[in-house]
């Protein structure tokens, strides 16, 4: 996804600790997210979700499937 693009989470494929942390932060199917920006080295990525900002590494974000608006 590109900066400022938004979409709806369709699935979170991660399990274990990563999966749990992602879900604890509210990234569950049906949630709307928007890409807010990226760190100067393009990784990690900052997401806007439910009114707050969340960062995660690109390889962690790969587990989240999003339907782009």
């Amino acid at each position: 996804m590109r900066d400022n693009q938004s979409g709806i989470i369709r699935a979170v494929k991660a399990d274990g600790e990563l999966g749990r942390r992602i879900r604890d932060m509210g990234l569950v199917p049906g949630t709307a997210i928007r890409i807010q920006g990226r760190a100067p080295l393009y990784d990690p990525v900052a997401l806007r979700v439910m009114g707050f900002t969340l960062t995660l590494r690109n390889n962690e974000a790969d587990y989240i499937e999003v339907e782009v608006d």
């Binding site: 699935a11 399990d15 990563l18 999966g19 807010q36 100067p40 393009y42 900052a46 900002t53 962690e60």
Partner: protein
């Protein structure tokens, strides 16, 4: 007076600490939870005739067993059974914050929701019907603004009412979908019948944790009843297979989805009214578009880090020098009033210098923590981690590691003690340990005089360049060793980075002061006691058993002979009160007498335990080009790295060598046949990497949660440093340097 325990819980950045400070004021106490390095804060709030003991639980997003903080919070709730949990919920962020609230209610603890930062929510066009929320959740809800202390009286009244009426909370049983609900009901019956773990936990909750694959509960369950545990696990496995086949999900994911679904349904029943798009940009985001900008971000970060560094080391210089003069004055007092001998030497060199050394760090730690607390509470620290994570991850570290490295001397002249303590901001255990163990490689302020001495002696024409290279080498060394540690002793996958970027906030003055004072006091109390002991041990090593009588007699004879040869000068010297008024003959005599004292000190050092160790190690240290004098100096450097200079001075019989005035020592080294530039390089490599000073070791042991890591850092670093020094020296010799 009746005493009641209340627990404060909530998400990080929801204002929990601010509310805690508002409720308890200065009446708080910081310790650790038994056996772990998670901080436990307790305070007291007196209301009417009731004393509320308030325990600040670590900030968490959830109650799983993945992080230490979560386990600690959960254990506290089930074991200590507080009368109520005040759950601080960020009103502007209701949905995610209620996820934790729901888990408290699943556990069946009495919950009071403090809807905090309600003002921020209003500004953002978020309207919350607290009564409706309270009705739907079936728990009391109080709107608060912790920064201004608003709502705290009401909170306490609600707590008072709950405690007074003895209201038993209703456990919340939400539906997690048909498959899971069915299995849960079945497991609950089995668990209740067998009384499996039900002395501590509710039966349905135990079933739920089995379903969520919760490591802590699974382990407890196996211990309590292995057979039943296996049966329950079989039920879970069946459901897991089914859900995996039909939905391609794990049960824990389905459970999380249903929790969020439950929250959404509550919020939609007239609780939450949002005027704007929730993901629109606010002030904080506009600040971020500059501060984390691809080009401006790193530059501003450099400036902030430089500012923190300047703030810490410049402003603390004055109180540090006051402390130094105070301990100098104490030393002077002891010098003047104690009779000559071992007691005097121990009081001055062992106790006053040792304790002075410890307390000398205090202003540094206070200023560093004040700066870091500001960066943390304002929200900037999270941005630093965000921007630098890509670089530090390569070495198995975390973006937040950078602060610890810089404070330790990443910009030459820091100090590893506050650096080690700065790793507390890291929430990932493995990354934190690796950072903790590698920050002492940075060039701290105490290594600088030693480097300065060697550079002045051997590389006088390239001083700045050599110092710059030394800084680069220490960074490279630290990062590479971190990588090595992360692939060996602290092996393990990277902890997920998933992190909130909290909105920027202006920290409260009270919060900053409390934060700074807590950390400083912990340092004084815990480090102080151990360090006094170690400094006496080091003094003993450098003093005993002293030179044999025959050697001492020889120096006494020399002195006698000298005095007898020039009786007039000796008399003049004895009666002199002012050194400048001495005759040339008397000055000459004084110089010669000083020379004898210096050689006597050298002999005493050589015969001491430390001297014997140094001499015994010479055959080994020769491989790195170092002689016994250097060995003793390096042993002394364990007390504090700058001691290397003064001990070298004694070992080269120069008498007391003051750190700033080491010019004569530099000349002596440059002229010595034992030394050449290669020796200096080898020694600098050794000093950069060998065992941290003992103050740092004590801090490492404490922060890493055990002495084995303190011992590890001493042994591992010394072996590493020696290997590097030998390689440098042997390769250099081979190449003809």
């Amino acid at each position: 007076m009746a005493e009641t325990t209340l627990a404060l819980a909530g998400n990080p950045n929801a204002g929990k600490t601010t509310l805690f400070n508002a409720l308890t004021g200065a009446r708080q106490h910081v310790g650790n939870y038994p056996g772990v390095t998670v901080e436990k804060k307790e305070g007291v709030h007196v209301h009417a005739d009731r004393r509320f003991k308030i325990v600040d639980l670590p900030g968490t997003y959830s109650l799983t067993a993945y992080s230490l903080e979560e386990v600690v919070a959960r254990d506290f709730l089930v074991n200590e059974r507080p009368a109520a949990v005040i759950d601080i919920v960020d009103a502007a962020n209701l949905e995610r914050n209620l996820y934790l609230t729901l888990q408290f209610m699943e556990l069946g603890v009495p919950v009071i929701v403090a809807l905090n930062m309600i003002d921020v929510a209003h500004q953002r066009g978020i309207a919350i019907d607290t009564d409706q929320l309270s009705r739907l959740l079936n728990v009391p809800v109080v709107a608060t603004i912790a920064r201004r202390g608003e709502g705290k009286a009401e909170l306490i009244e609600v707590a008072e009412r709950i405690v007074g009426e003895g209201v038993t909370p209703q456990r919340l049983d939400i539906s997690y979908g048909e498959d899971i609900d069915h299995a849960l009901a079945e497991m609950e019956t089995t668990i209740t019948a067998a009384e499996h773990l039900t002395d501590v936990y509710p039966a349905r909750w135990v079933a739920l944790k089995y379903m969520e694959n919760d490591e802590q509960i699974l382990a407890l369950g196996r211990k309590a009843n292995a057979e039943l545990s296996a049966a329950l696990a079989a039920t879970v496995a069946k459901v897991t297979d089914h859900i995996k086949a039909t939905l391609d999900l794990y049960p824990e994911a389905v459970i999380a989805d249903h929790r969020y679904g439950f929250i959404k349904s509550i919020l939609q029943q007239g609780v939450l009214a949002v005027q704007h798009d929730r993901n629109r940009l606010y002030m904080s985001d506009r600040i971020d578009s500059v501060l984390t900008n691809r080009f401006a971000g790193p530059l501003i970060m450099l400036a902030v880090v430089w500012g923190l560094y300047q703030f810490t080391f410049t402003y603390s210089a004055m109180p540090v020098s006051w402390l130094e003069s105070f301990f100098g004055w104490l030393g002077g007092l002891a010098e003047a009033y104690l009779p000559d001998g071992l007691i005097k030497s121990m009081v001055i060199a062992g106790i006053i210098d040792g304790v002075g050394g410890v307390l000398g760090f205090v202003p540094l730690i206070m200023f560093m923590f004040l700066g870091i607390a500001f960066l943390e509470d304002s929200g900037y620290m999270a941005r630093v981690a965000f921007m630098l994570d890509r670089v530090f991850r390569i070495f198995g570290l975390h973006g937040s590691s950078v602060m610890a490295f810089i404070v330790s001397g990443g910009i030459a002249g820091g100090c590893a003690v506050p650096g080690v303590m700065a790793t507390r901001t890291l929430k990932s255990p493995r990354e934190r340990l690796a950072t903790l163990l590698t920050v002492p490689f940075m060039n701290c302020g105490a290594k600088l005089p030693v480097f300065a001495l060697l550079v002045a002696a051997f590389f006088a024409s390239h001083e700045a360049l050599v110092m710059f290279i030394l800084t680069l080498v220490s960074w490279m060394g630290a990062l590479l060793v971190a990588k090595l540690l992360r692939t060996t002793v602290v092996r393990g996958e990277a902890t997920p980075f998933v992190m909130e970027l909290p909105p920027y906030r202006l920290p409260t003055f009270k919060g900053l002061l409390i934060h700074t004072w807590e950390r400083t006091w912990q340092y004084i109390r815990k480090a102080g006691t151990v360090i006094l002991g170690i400094s006496i041990v080091l003094w003993t090593l450098m003093t005993f058993p002293g030179a044999p009588d025959a050697v001492q007699q020889r120096f006494a004879n020399e002195r006698q002979a000298l005095l007898a040869a020039a009786p007039q000068a000796a008399l003049a010297l004895e009666n002199a009160t002012d050194a400048t008024a001495l005759s040339p003959a008397a000055t000459d005599l004084q110089t010669q007498l000083d020379g004898i004292s210096a050689r006597e000190a050298e002999a005493a050092l050589r015969y001491s335990v430390a001297g014997r160790i140094g001499t015994a190690l010479e055959s080994l240290s020769r491989l790195a080009g170092l002689d016994w004098r250097t060995n003793i100096a390096l042993l002394g450097g364990f007390a504090a790295k700058e001691v290397v200079v003064s001990t070298l001075g004694t070992a080269y019989s120069l008498g007391e060598v003051d750190v700033p005035a080491s010019g004569s020592l530099a000349q002596k080294l440059a002229a010595s046949p034992n030394w050449r530039p290669l020796t200096a390089i080898s020694l600098m490599a050794f000093i950069m990497f060998y065992a941290p000073c003992f103050v740092s070791v004590v801090c490492i042991a404490r922060e890493a949660g055990g002495w084995r890591w303190g011992v590890f850092s001493m042994v591992f670093n010394t072996v590493l440093a020696f290997t590097l020094a030998v390689i440098v020296f042997q390769a250099g010799t081979f190449l003809g340097f």
